[in-house]
């Protein structure tokens, strides 16, 4: 009978004990894998969601800047115009997957009730996705205004005396006030009148013109500087500027998420390592008597050690593999439900290597020491062990 067969026999004879050991290994490995993959996916998901909260990149014509600060305009100058084709152009950059939302806008002056108003032509689906903080009276959640409907800022509604459902005429066409944006504290949102982009382009007889583009860039994997540079190359006629106010705050928040994520990772690794080590060393200690018997029969120390090496190696190998499969499978199938996010957790084969190394390494370290101690005992002593 070879040493390996003894090991195998040991494992099959104590089925319950082996199963429990396997189970604690599986729990340790799978929970580490599950939490690690879920938290890192959540981190990315949160970063992406935050990036889509308002725009973090502005594309403006190169000249014609108005001097205004916090809504106080001190000098105006007519800006140049951009072309709607730029939106398609933007999608051709190398990191185009990072462009989460692109909201082109046309600005025009209009007259409502004999007062000058700023008409902002927008694509409502994109605009409403960016302006998540808009609380619009009259507009239900996820409702998109029609081409003949207007959304009016709070100040504009106050100055022009507009109410919900009111009909107004702009440049000879009739529009209905669909929604009034509650005060946002930003002069841009409060003072403007928003309408459909294509409609405004038609009214202004500028079928392809836009004034500026607001964009939300996901910069979890790709720094915003790269995206800015790539966009500047594609859009030579425009000025591309990242908005620091949005980016600094986002970075601050995401940094805290990853900090918590790594703390969890470290603590969990320590915990599962500890649990695995405890159950392994307890299982070996229990067999001090067996070791005495083997020694009394004339087995050499290195033989006994290799019996344990095989046993622990086999159990921890299978535990590692099964634990990884379970953890990865759970994360891929249920991780997004648990975390309430839309992101799919990708299959990460490289984690299998790490889980195996950790499982086998920790188990061997934890079991060989008590085994060695038992071997060094006098066989008579070992036989008395209970």
């Amino acid at each position: 009978m070879r040493i390996f067969q003894i090991s195998l026999g040991n494992l099959t004879r104590r089925k319950a004990r082996s199963l429990l050991l396997l189970l604690s290994l599986i729990i340790g490995v799978s929970s580490s894998v599950f939490l690690y993959t879920t938290t890192s996916a959540m981190e990315e998901d949160v970063a992406n969601k935050l990036d889509q909260y308002g725009s973090n990149l502005l594309i403006l014509p190169k000249t014609g800047e108005t001097l205004s600060f916090g809504g106080v305009t001190v000098r105006t100058s007519p800006g140049e115009e951009l072309d709607i084709a730029m939106v398609e152009q933007m999608r051709t950059i190398k990191n185009n997957e990072t462009l989460a939302a692109i909201s082109p806008k046309l600005l025009a002056e209009g007259q409502i009730e004999n007062k000058s108003v700023l008409l902002v032509g927008v694509r409502f689906p994109e605009e409403l996705r960016l302006k998540k903080w808009w609380n619009t009276e009259g507009l239900a959640k996820r409702e998109i205004p029609q081409a003949s409907e207007l959304v009016v800022g709070s100040e504009a509604a106050r100055v022009l005396n507009l109410g919900l459902g009111q009909e107004v005429s702009i440049k000879g066409e009739n529009f209905t006030v669909k929604g009034i944006i509650q005060p946002t504290g930003s002069s841009e949102d409060d003072q403007a009148t928003f309408m459909d982009l294509e409609t405004l382009q038609r009214l202004e007889q500028k079928s392809t013109a836009i004034s500026l583009i607001e964009a939300a860039v996901l910069c979890y994997d790709c720094p915003i500087e790269d995206v800015t540079m790539q966009l500047s190359e594609k859009l030579p006629g425009a000025k591309v500027t990242p908005l620091q106010a949005a980016l600094v705050s986002r970075d601050d928040t995401v940094k805290r998420f990853s900090l918590l994520g790594s703390v969890v990772g470290i603590i969990l690794l320590a915990t599962s390592g500890f649990v695995v080590a405890m159950s392994m060393s307890a299982a070996v200690k229990e067999r001090t008597r067996d070791i005495g018997v083997l020694r009394a029969m004339g087995f050499r120390k290195k033989h006994i050690l290799s019996i344990f090496l095989y046993e622990v190696g086999m159990i921890s190998f299978f535990g590692g593999v099964l634990g990884y499969a379970l953890g990865m499978g759970l994360a891929m199938n249920f991780g997004d439900n648990l975390a309430q996010m839309e992101l799919q957790i990708p299959f990460q084969p490289d984690l299998a290597g790490y889980s195996l190394i950790a499982a086998v390494g920790i188990s061997l370290l934890a079991s060989l020491y008590p085994a060695w101690k038992a071997i060094k005992l006098d066989p008579v002593e070992a036989l008395r062990y209970f």
Partner: protein
């Protein structure tokens, strides 16, 4: 000898196993409690830093015409007379709100000069930088009769720190240049309020007041009736954004805590089940000498209750100490030892439940077992 004696003696007779069980409970409870405390601390910190970020209340003069500019572009060349806030508004706000609120009053106007026109912004840099951490000045903050240029202005004029800005009758030294922010700051020329008043001829009024308040909704509600001639508004992008971030962090840490709790319960159940499993023979002996099923379950239950209660209690104590040691490495300086009795009681109670729950299956197996079988078990 009562049943509780037997349970206690069982624990004492196998110190190795008892310690293992105790440590398992302690370790898991320590992990969960320290993680929860750390997450709470981080969430509070995040909330504070977000509350201090940006001007979340804006007070602007109420005008009967609408601004025709958006995102730094404007559609009309028509310039209206810019309205102002009365001089005493700032004192009024300071009296009403006290010291915790950062108040950033500003004087803004156009200064014509032979070369080009400049937007002069007079403000108190000390207050302003507290609420706008994304402003970085290369050089230093301006004192009276000194200016800091916005990024685009400096780039357009090709001027830097050490040069002078020609404003017609006055030439002011440039002491700093602001890094690009992408916002309207890039177009401004910044100086102190006093110098801005001199340059623009605005004697005592204000163009705009930005505030940073810990509770913006409250501040708006307090100020609105006092300032009927001004628009007092919360900046909803910031306020709602901060709420969203904190909420996300909250649900992130909740998810982690729950998963950890679940895993912990699993580990405990497996360890305890293994422990009882190893004692089937001994329990068979107890049955054989006439112990009733209820007695055996009581013995097992008492053992589980004892280890889980003591283990989780010490784990909780230890778990409160971990953040103290770990905090400095995570960038906290002001972590204080705070007993969280609610958390502690919850964890100890949950451990007790899990511990008792864990013996259900092996206990059931013992009861079902044939006595002969049990004694044969090795």
């Amino acid at each position: 000898m009562t049943l509780s004696h037997i349970a206690l003696q069982n624990l004492r007779r196998r110190p190795g196993k008892t310690i293992l069980l105790f440590l398992t409970f302690a370790f898991i409870v320590a992990t969960i409690s320290s993680l929860t405390i750390l997450a709470w601390g981080m969430q509070k910190q995040l909330q504070e830093s977000l509350a201090n970020y940006g001007a979340n209340v804006v007070i602007s003069p109420r005008a009967e015409h609408l601004t025709l500019s958006y995102g730094g572009l404007s559609v009309s060349g028509v310039e209206y007379e810019v309205k102002k806030l009365e001089a005493e508004v700032v004192e009024k706000i300071t009296q009403l709100l006290g010291k915790e609120v950062i108040i950033g009053p500003k004087v803004i106007g156009l200064k014509a000069s032979p070369r080009q026109d400049y937007m002069i912004i007079g403000l108190d840099f000390g207050q302003e930088l507290k609420m706008k951490p994304w402003w970085t000045i290369e050089g230093k903050q301006p004192e009276d009769e000194q200016v800091v240029l916005g990024f685009q202005v400096a780039k357009g004029l090709q001027l830097g720190v050490g040069d002078t800005l020609d404003l017609g009758e006055r030439k002011l030294p440039i002491v700093g240049v602001m890094a690009e922010t992408g916002g309207s700051e890039d177009q401004g020329v910044f100086t102190t309020i006093k110098t801005a008043r001199n340059l623009l001829g605005i004697v005592s009024e204000w163009s705009l007041i930005e505030l940073n308040a810990a509770n913006p909704a409250q501040v708006v509600a307090n100020l609105k009736p006092e300032l009927p001639m001004a628009n007092v508004t919360e900046v909803t992008q910031l306020v709602e954004g901060a709420k969203e971030k904190v909420e996300r962090f909250n649900s992130f840490s909740y998810t982690i805590s729950w998963t950890m709790g679940l895993i912990g319960a699993l580990v405990v159940i497996v360890t305890l089940a293994g422990n009882v499993n190893a004692r089937l023979r001994e329990l068979g002996v107890l049955r054989a000498i006439g112990f009733r099923r209820a007695h055996i379950l009581t013995v097992l239950g008492l053992e589980a209750a004892l280890t889980s209660l003591t283990g989780s209690f010490f784990g909780y104590l230890f778990g409160m100490l971990i953040p103290l040691g770990l905090g400095p490495f995570l960038g906290y300086k002001d972590i204080v030892f705070a007993p969280q009795p609610g958390l502690g009681m919850g964890l100890v109670f949950a451990s007790l439940l899990v511990g008792l729950g864990a013996i259900i299956y092996p206990g059931w197996r013992v009861l079902k077992m044939d006595l002969q079988e049990a004694l044969k078990y090795s």
